[in-house]
């Protein structure tokens, strides 16, 4: 399978596949980060994660249409406004859902699975009623299209670089909030021992609500970013949900670092294999490898050491 290419070609192949893998890695991290917070910290299996992403995508679409109609001169910068609005919209809906649905189901993970799956169906139908069954096209500003030429054969798409930067910023922000801020310490305290955390004066209900909102908000930003590479339709969210769970479970649910490491290994394996065999085959092999590793390490790559 290497025979058809020269040494120079192979060098370019690995360089380009490496970049493709890095872009895929950023996509996986963006998808999984919100879920890792909700699933890892709160034990809620959020099957509606994809629909929160698509909410972000629809907000981006609406923002782009609004800018085109009313502020055409500011159109190149609309994406940043759209991301903030997507975060707010998805986060607000997340907090509403937590208040109306999830808080009654803590400690019953299988029930959260069913409830949020129902929620995902409701949201899909709502999108279909509001935005129509067809996919919508999100127009991107010109500077986000095109690619940067590095050598003759190596080119890096600009939106890929943008997604990478965005992922880095968001991951750094989440890591800071979770591990350095006062609120992050409260979250971790609530996760480790809810009763004790309440006893020392932490408002656990409020912490839960904001954590869930943060997770959904990040999903919204992810959805906003994905309008650059994917489609925006009522059921598009379904495309992401399996991969997202894959990354989170493989990484070890409660660990942010695990999520990143797992996204990296899955994306690089997928990207390299995809070059030498078909897309479907690469996916099958990746899944088989993950199943094999999970059989040896059921807790995932990195798991919190919790005294049981």
């Amino acid at each position: 399978m290497f025979g058809d290419y020269s040494i120079g070609d192979l060098g370019a192949i690995f360089a380009m596949q490496g970049f493709a893998g890095l872009i895929l890695f950023s996509v996986y991290v963006l998808m999984a980060l919100g879920l890792a917070i909700i699933f890892g910290q709160m034990g809620v299996i959020n099957m509606a994660h994809g629909e929160f992403m698509i909410l972000g995508a629809y907000v981006t679409w609406m923002t782009s249409s609004a800018f085109q109609a009313y502020l055409p001169s500011l159109f190149p910068g609309y994406f940043f406004v759209a991301m903030i609005l997507a975060f707010i919209a998805a986060g607000a809906l997340g907090m509403l859902v937590e208040w109306g649905l999830i808080r009654h189901l803590y400690k019953r993970p299988l029930d959260t699975l069913l409830a949020t799956w129902g929620l995902s169906l409701i949201l899909q139908q709502a999108y279909r009623s509001i935005f129509g069954a067809r996919e919508v096209g999100v127009e991107l500003p010109q500077w986000m299209l095109g690619s940067k030429q590095i050598t003759d054969t190596i080119e890096v798409p600009i939106n890929g670089i943008f997604v990478m930067c965005l992922t880095f910023l968001i991951t750094a922000a989440v890591a800071y909030v979770m591990y350095k801020s006062r609120w992050g310490r409260q979250v971790r305290a609530v996760v480790q021992n809810r009763v004790m955390a309440g006893a020392v004066g932490i408002n656990t209900e409020k912490v839960d609500r904001y954590t869930f909102g943060l997770g959904c908000g990040i999903a919204g930003i992810a959805g906003s970013a994905f309008t650059m590479i994917g489609s925006t339709g009522p059921t598009s969210g379904q495309l992401y949900i399996v991969d997202t769970f894959l990354v989170v479970v493989f990484g070890g649910a409660a660990s942010l670092f695990g999520t990143i490491a797992s996204a990296f290994s899955i994306s690089q394996a997928q990207s390299t294999m995809e070059f030498f065999m078909s897309g479907s085959m690469a996916k099958v092999l990746t899944l088989l490898a993950i199943v094999a590793i999970l059989m040896v390490r059921p807790q995932g790559l990195f798991a919190l050491k919790v005294r049981k």
């Binding site: 290419y5 070609d9 370019a12 192949i13 380009m16 596949q17 970049f19 493709a20 872009i23 895929l24 996509v27 139908q125 279909r128 069954a133 067809r134 996919e135 919508v136 096209g137 999100v138 127009e139 299209l145 095109g146 690619s147 030429q149 054969t153 080119e155 798409p157 600009i158 939106n159 890929g160 994905f226 650059m228 590479i229 994917g230 489609s231 925006t232 339709g233 009522p234 059921t235 598009s236 379904q238 495309l239 997928q270 990207s271 995809e274 070059f275 078909s278 897309g279 479907s280 996916k283």
Partner: protein
């Protein structure tokens, strides 16, 4: 008082008389079939279909929920438009068409269930419906067992023929071979990279394309062939391969939402479709709505219909469609093929002089529809349509510009020899 009484006696009689006289010229102007001469129900319906003296019931069976709703919405709209127009023109054998719509919900067993309901409970005289091959395969035994008539609108992989189905879209050879010949001749294309989603239609189509490229086109070769799971959104790897192999033509049969990802990433990777020839058979105006014209401008599509076709039939069709469903709707290849269904059925029933399924099936070959938006179509003995193959070039505004069409109608050949 006397005056009042007088008027009360004479006036209504006089008015009735006048009205009756006035109605005589109007009566002679009505279409012949609208009443009096409409054939008796016992004559045109000997098998107990849902046909009365004034009405005939047909079924519409598509997905309006679930993942296929995105595609099938256009078909439903086109079928309803055709039915409304037929009714306005006097109906079928003097009977208005009434439709019962069922939702297949993108679920194949559900399609079979609903098909059975439409045939057994509702006794539909014809059913317009299905999109995916999977749904068609699911309903086929039902239509054969209960002897119904299905008008199926999608271009598909062929390898099928049934007396209970009229295929109003193209089978594989009608779409593929003429397009490849064209690109070989006009673009001097010698090397092809085949892409597709991973299921039966793209795989069968690419098989035919590969056979044609390797056996029938001089000095041409396939330099790559690749399939992706439905809904795949990461095409960076294959785009890298395309860059390395530098094919003359990218031949893409990717379906649904994946297309959005594919064309956006193609553009982002610096592949300029005005320099790199790309030929697709799966992206209609509907898909471009989601992809965005700026991402696909310059690509070629091989279909039988484009919304921009310049002929009087199509102008009237597009105007009527937009009037009924909104200015912003777009019309793709399959939407047009769905519009043919009710019309072909009406013409066939009138040719047969009967609603009976067997007579309609027997009368189908040779039925021609001169009002087709695509120009003109004729039904073949194998229940597929003779139709033209066309190539269009995608423009920024999301429409295709016609660049080539076959001079004659292409004969449908669902079981092509040497291509299987």
């Amino acid at each position: 008082m006397a005056d009042d009484k007088d008027q009360g006696l004479h006036s209504p009689f006089r008015r009735k008389l006048l009205m009756g006289m006035a109605a005589i010229p109007a009566m002679t102007m009505l279409p012949r079939t609208s009443f009096a001469q409409a054939p008796a129900t016992s004559v045109v319906n000997t098998t107990g279909l849902a046909v009365t003296d004034t009405e005939v019931t047909v079924g519409i069976l598509h997905s309006v929920t679930g993942t296929m709703a995105i595609s099938e919405t256009g078909s439903v709209q086109a079928e309803k438009l055709a039915i409304e127009q037929i009714n306005a023109a006097g109906g079928v054998l003097g009977r208005k068409i009434k439709y019962i719509q069922e939702d297949g919900a993108s679920d194949w067993p559900n399609f079979a269930e609903k098909a059975k309901k439409l045939l057994v409970n509702d006794k539909c005289a014809a059913v317009m419906g299905c999109w995916t091959s999977a749904s068609r395969k699911a309903v086929l035994p039902v239509f054969e067992q209960y002897n119904g008539m299905l008008y199926y609108p999608t271009f598909y992989e062929g390898l099928e023929q049934s007396k209970n189905v009229i295929y109003t879209g193209q089978e594989a050879t009608q779409q593929i071979i003429a397009g490849l010949d064209w690109v070989n001749k006009t673009k001097n294309a010698k090397s092809f990279y085949l892409l597709g989603s991973d299921y039966i239609w793209p795989r069968t189509s690419n098989k035919i394309a590969r056979k044609h490229i390797e056996n029938h086109l001089q000095g041409c070769k396939v330099v790559g062939e690749e399939y992706f799971p439905l809904g795949h959104t990461q095409f960076n790897s294959v785009i890298n391969k395309i860059k390395l192999t530098k094919p003359d033509v990218i031949y893409a049969i990717i379906v649904g939402g994946s297309n959005v990802a594919f064309y956006k990433q193609l553009k982002a990777a610096g592949i300029d479709l005005s320099k790199q020839t790309l030929l697709t058979i799966s992206v209609t105006e509907d898909e471009i709505d989601g992809i965005g014209g700026e991402n696909i401008a310059g690509a070629f599509a091989c279909m039988k219909y484009f919304q921009s076709l310049d002929n009087p039939n199509n102008k009237a069709f597009v105007a009527a469609f937009k009037k009924m469903w909104g200015e912003k709707t777009v019309i793709g290849d399959v939407t047009q093929a769905a519009y043919l269904g009710p019309w072909l059925w009406k013409l066939t029933v009138e040719k047969a002089g009967s609603f009976d399924i067997d007579k309609v099936a027997a009368a189908s070959p040779g039925v021609e529809f001169k009002g087709a938006p695509e120009g003109y179509v004729r039904v073949h003995e194998n229940h597929h349509l003779w139709s033209k193959t066309r190539v269009g070039k995608a423009k920024l505004d999301g429409q295709y510009e016609l660049v080539y069409e076959t001079a004659d109608l292409v004969e449908p050949d669902p079981f092509p020899k040497g291509y299987q």
